[in-house]
Structure formats: structure tokens, C-alpha cells
Symmetry: D2
Subunit: 135 residues, 4 copies
């Protein structure tokens, strides 16, 4: 398993009138978590796109255990449990500074060749980086 942790501070823009982080804003936290997870492996999502491969989200599931609140310093734990082929699955666990589990989620992303707009294989370089963690 490959694990990466990223800190994100909840800002006012993220809250709603319940005083909670709006449920749609976790998607952004997940995105920041997975992009920084890839960067920590030496892999740039930006360069992936520039090389002609997109990685849009195909499936997304979240469970909201406890609300995140304004100014909370969240830890986004990103877990990669399997090697990507044409899909790549990321799991997320979000905790506040006291370690309370607030949110869990999973996203499945699909590699798309921009030129053909068709599904394609994960870049070999990314798979190579992950092999030591996942085998």
C-alpha cells in the first residue's frame, strides 16, 4: 500500500451556514490529496496532461462521519492499494487535529488519451514508481 498525508486548513469559503464544510467541497480536498500523493512519487499530474493523457474521475463515493469545521487543520490521508491499469483507485481518510475521523472516500479515475478520447493504459513510469509499494 502507498500512503501519503497532506494537511489542508479549512477556509471560510469551504463552510456553509450549518458551520460545516459543504459536502461538495471534499472533492477538492481529495483532489489536492491525490495530486500531492502523485507528486511525492515524483509524478506530476500537470505533465501527464501535457503528455496527452487526462485522468478524469469516473466514480466518487464519500461518507461524512463528522463535520469538518472552519479553521480545522485537516489531515488528508491518501491510500493507493492497487496498481493502476486503465483505472486508478484512490482512498481517502480525513481527520481533524485531534485525530477524529471526519470523512472517508474513494475515487476511481480513468486514463484517457486526449488524441483519441479513448481509455488508455496508465503511463509505465507511474506504474513503476508504485510497484515497490504494492507488491
Amino acid at each position: 500500500m502507498f500512503i501519503h498525508e497532506e494537511k489542508i486548513r479549512v477556509c471560510y469559503a469551504d463552510t456553509d451556514q450549518m458551520g460545516y464544510v459543504y459536502y461538495g467541497n471534499y472533492a477538492r480536498y481529495y483532489e489536492i490529496g491525490r495530486v500531492e500523493a502523485l507528486r511525492s512519487l515524483g509524478f506530476s499530474y500537470k505533465k501527464l496532461e501535457e503528455s496527452g493523457v487526462m485522468l478524469p474521475v469516473y466514480e466518487h463515493a464519500s461518507r461524512y462521519h463528522q463535520p469538518a469545521r472552519y479553521d480545522d487543520l485537516l489531515t488528508i490521508k491518501v491510500l493507493i492499494r492497487s496498481l493502476p491499469h486503465v483505472r486508478m483507485i484512490f482512498n481517502y481518510e480525513i481527520r481533524n487535529a485531534e485525530g477524529v475521523l471526519l470523512n472517508t472516500g474513494e475515487t476511481t479515475l480513468v486514463f484517457i488519451d486526449k488524441a483519441t478520447d479513448k481509455i488508455c493504459r496508465a503511463p509505465a513510469a507511474l506504474v513503476q514508481q508504485l510497484v515497490p509499494f504494492l507488491t
Copy 2:
């Protein structure tokens, strides 16, 4: 089954640099869909909160079949298949103007008594409105 349809125009703010609606923005479309579905039943989410009951999202799942794009006039179909007790489940189907299915989703919301911060039963008035459609 109770069904409500709502039209939403994709604005520039919703798009990302792929030219797609960003995956986190569907949560907002679902919210608009379910609030307007309740309003069409004569039920105001705003008044629910003012009466001391909140309805936060507990679970959320989305599948992104095809991208929604800038200026698309989307139809958000909201489906309620079961009477709410302490939870209320909404299903969503989003289509573009050509009728192509772009996105499906489900959210489970929980009734919370603001005073005690505990789970509570759905308001009788809401259940009553739904009975004719669901039995």
C-alpha cells in the same frame, strides 16, 4: 416513486481546464435538485432548518458517465423511492439537452435535531406529502 425535474445551465465557474464540469460541482446540482423537489411538494428546506431540524448529507455517490460541458442545459431528475424515517435517500440522473445520460448519483441525508445534535425522525408533514407517491 416521486420524481421531480429541474433545469440547470452549466456556467463557466463550473468548468475546469478539461472543458468538463469539475466532478465536485455535481454536489451543488444535486442540492438544487433535491431542494426544488421538496419545494414542489410544498416543503421548504429553509423552514425545516428554522424549525430546528437540519438535514446534512451522510453518504454521497456519483458516477460520471459522460462529461457535462459549458453552457449545457442540464436536466436534473430527482427520484425519491422510499419514505424518509431518520434518513432520506435521493437519487439523481443528469442529462444534457440531447437526452444523453451524463451522471447518476445518490445521497443519503440524516435528520438532526439542532437542540440535541442527535438524529431525529423526519417531520410528519414531509412524510405525509410523500405517502401518495410511495405507497
Copy 3:
């Protein structure tokens, strides 16, 4: 002067923990207002981009007189006071259902030729549509 009015319902996603619409979200209301103002003139912003001309925002100013709140049905009044040349200026007045002025704003947008990434003139077709209102 050309005037267009557009209705927008404040959704939960737009609010913050003060119970107000977050100040950054008015930019979206302005965008919806100006795009629908152009559409009412028979002019599609989407087609403008497809024809190779972008219209990004160069300047933006807002004054927040009174807070907009959850579920408010806002009227976005869009005012065009001068013919566009290489720039186009839109003014905005946002009122709630009781007619109270909540927000005023102004945005200056610039016509950019995508091919050269340089400033260009407003399309003649757009100028023509506006002439009867502005002279």
C-alpha cells in the same frame, strides 16, 4: 442603456458559516447575469469562444451592502451603458425578493483573439445588437 434581469436562487453551497453568501460567490452571479444578458440579445458566449474569441475578466469590483442569505430569490440586474470596443463593461445590481439592494458590482472584460493571444475588437454582430439601446 441595455438592461437585463435574471433570477437566481441562493443555494446552500453559496452560504458560509455567517449564514451569508460568501463574498467570492457573487462573481458567479455576475457571470450568469451577463451571459444571460448577452443571450437575450441573441448572442451566445459559447459561440463567441468557438469562433476564436475569449472574453476574460480584467477588472472586478463589488460592494456588499447587505448580506444575501440562504434560499433568497435574487434578482441580478445587468446594465450595459456603453458600446464595447476592445473592452466591455457590465454593471450589476442584486436585490432580494423584497427589493432591498444587497450588492452592486462592475466587471470589465477584454476581447482576446485565441490564435494570437492578443486583444482584439468586439465582434461586429454584438456591437450591432447593442447600438439601438446605446445611442
Copy 4:
């Protein structure tokens, strides 16, 4: 003058289909900048609200010199040029990693007493922290 600098990475959620950061998203960058500027002075915006004082934005102006783009590592420079009384003015300069000036802005915030919903004076503790920098 008091100056604070904060780094923010542009995420996908912030971009639009031009490949630029959407103009409404700078409000969030400004917010993060000013809250962290206050924190660096030992002053918590969260605690301010808990003590019964809100600080909503009253005026906001932005100029978009050059687009910020996906994955840019931005530096948000926050400048406080005058002591707050009932208002507090923040200026912003946003640069990319190459030092190019992308955006400048100004926000005027107003101290509001939650109990009376009226304008009030800035907390003495905040003014005290700023005095050494501004006199």
C-alpha cells in the same frame, strides 16, 4: 506597513475551460492570505468570531493582469498599510513561481458586533499587534 506572504498551489477545481483560474476564485486566495497574515501576528480570525465579532467583506476590487494556471505555485503577498478602526483594509499581490505579477486586489472588511449586528471598533489586541509595523 505589515507584509505577509503565503504560498497556494492552484488546483484543478480552481481552473475553468480557458485553462485559467476562474476570476471568482481569487476571493478565496485573498481570504487565505489575510487569515494567515493575522495568524502570523498571533491573531486568530476564528477566535475573533467566537468572541462575538464578525469581519465580513464590504468592498472588493481585483485586477487580473495575467492568468494564473493549473499547478502554479502562487505567492499571495498581503499588505496592511493602515491601522484598523471600524474597517480594515488588506491589499494583495499574487505572483507565480517566476515572479510574474498575475493579480492585484484590495478588500475592505468591517467589524460587526454579532449581538447588536452593528459596526464596532477593531479589537484592541489586534490594533496593538499592528502598531509596531504601521507607525
